[in-house]
């Protein structure tokens, strides 16, 4: 795996050199996807094989996003930027902030930084309508948990005190995405190798399990028209911590692309249980805006 980073960097430099310097906004509307909650191009909770932004293989594109999820007892905000180079490589940065709103976690505040790199390996989700081969990409996310605030009274300032083995970690994933234009359908399947608890907000590894596990994620979207997509997603997660009865994430979303510069995604998200202190399915509204070129 360590060899991948220099190889990807070489492609990045090569790709940047061959790509034109001005963004061409050349991809078809919506084919860059939106920004998923960890900053990568994808759906709402799952990274897709599509490269973020509207730059074609001769160019590049970039965007910024802000996402807000509000459940009964928690709020999760995420902002970040993503750059797509030559429709081949994607670099993303995101910051997540997770807050509690119900005692004893009402002062809870956990922040996390995520750096993501995605590389398109083969296929084209849009053009190759006459073959079954999907667009396939591999990706890596480095996550650094910035510590726990608001639980000082309990003496907790780091996720390791909640049972996590580490406060930083890597997720590795492979995604396959295909547009079935005849059916007005987009399908995505992602397999992620991860030790992250609640995406890393509660650290990595834990008292129940510390090994990396493979977790499947799925998305399906129906293209209502050129500007609207209606879909649903599922993301399975490991259950590593005794203090967190972690469950899968689900969402149902509507994404609106009025122009290539702006999109809005509204969803209803079910994040499952988050910690044993609030033993209740966390559900609520998910709202995300993306602006870019």
């Amino acid at each position: 795996m360590k060899k991948i980073i220099p190889a990807v960097m070489a492609v990045l430099v090569g790709g940047a050199a061959s790509a034109q310097s001005t963004p061409d906004m050349g991809k078809l509307l919506a084919t860059g996807g939106v920004s998923q909650v960890e900053g990568a191009g994808g759906g709402g909770i799952t990274p897709w094989a599509l490269i973020s932004g509207y730059g074609t293989r001769d160019s590049w594109g970039a965007n910024a996003h802000y996402t807000y999820i509000n459940t009964q007892d928690y709020k999760l905000g995420s902002y970040g930027v993503a750059i797509g180079i030559a429709d081949r490589l994607e670099l993303s940065f995101a910051n997540q902030e997770f807050k509690g709103s119900l005692a004893p976690l009402d002062k809870l505040n956990i922040k996390q930084d995520i750096v993501g790199l995605k590389y398109k390996v083969l296929g084209d989700a849009v053009y190759e309508q006459d073959v079954w081969v999907p667009q396939v990409a591999i990706g890596i996310m480095y996550k650094k948990n910035k510590g726990v605030r608001g639980l000082e009274a309990l003496g907790v300032t780091n996720v390791k005190q909640l049972g996590a083995k580490n406060d930083s970690g890597y997720d590795y994933y492979v995604s396959a995405t295909k547009l079935y234009l005849e059916q007005s359908l987009l399908l995505n399947a992602t397999l992620r190798a991860t030790r992250a608890n609640q995406m890393g907000l509660l650290g990595f590894g834990g008292d129940r399990n510390d090994s990396t596990r493979l977790m499947p994620e799925f998305s399906a979207a129906y293209l209502i028209n050129r500007q609207l997509a209606l879909g649903a997603e599922y993301r399975r997660k490991p259950h590593n911590l005794g203090v967190d009865d972690e469950k899968a994430y689900y969402d149902a979303f509507l994404a609106w692309f009025p122009t290539k510069n702006f999109s809005v995604t509204a969803a209803y998200a079910n994040l499952g249980d988050i910690t044993v202190f609030n033993p209740k399915k966390q559900k609520g509204l998910y709202l995300s805006v993306q602006a870019g070129f």
Partner: protein, 157 residues
């Protein structure tokens, strides 16, 4: 691992090269959805007008016989959509008259240095033309599904 990826990649490319030719729909639902011959003519007229006004791509068409392109597009959309038409696929080049003039999809485009951005701009203009003529999105995408693989022949840059 690297070798494995290369191998898988190669065999996938091989498989995809076997499936190149796009076959028209066997039923005429898409053809009817586009409004039959009449509807397709209106769509192509609007499409060509949009393309010739589109700063991203209009310069590519300066040396071309537009009425001939219009007629070929109607034939092609009609055939792909499952309509009672035969797309000949041959374009008579007006600047080369008398010197073995008939060219196919690939050779017509090979010197034009068309980029993915241009191909997509054209696709977008077609989608807008279909929207203007109230073609349902699901029908419009069925036509686009047949045209999208032509990217391999058309995009030469």
């Amino acid at each position: 691992m690297k070798k494995f990826i290369t191998r898988v990649g190669c065999s996938l490319l091989f498989v995809s090269s076997l499936a190149m030719a796009q076959t028209p729909y066997t039923d005429d639902a898409t053809y009817q959805g586009l409004g039959g011959k009449e509807g397709i003519k209106k769509i192509v007229d609007t499409f060509v007008t949009l393309v010739l006004a589109d700063p991203r791509i209009k310069d590519n068409f300066t040396d071309f016989d537009i009425p001939q392109i219009n007629a070929r597009l109607q034939e092609q959309f009609c055939e792909f959509a499952g309509g009672p038409c035969k797309y000949t696929g041959k374009y008579r080049d007006k600047t080369m008259d008398g010197v073995g003039t008939v060219r196919d999809m690939k050779t017509v485009h090979q010197d034009l240095k068309i980029t993915n951005a241009m191909f997509n701009a054209l696709t977008e203009d077609l989608q807008i033309a279909m929207e203007q003529h109230k073609v349902p999105s699901s029908v419009a995408l069925k036509l686009v599904a047949k045209l999208a693989p032509m990217q391999r022949d058309i995009v030469t840059k």
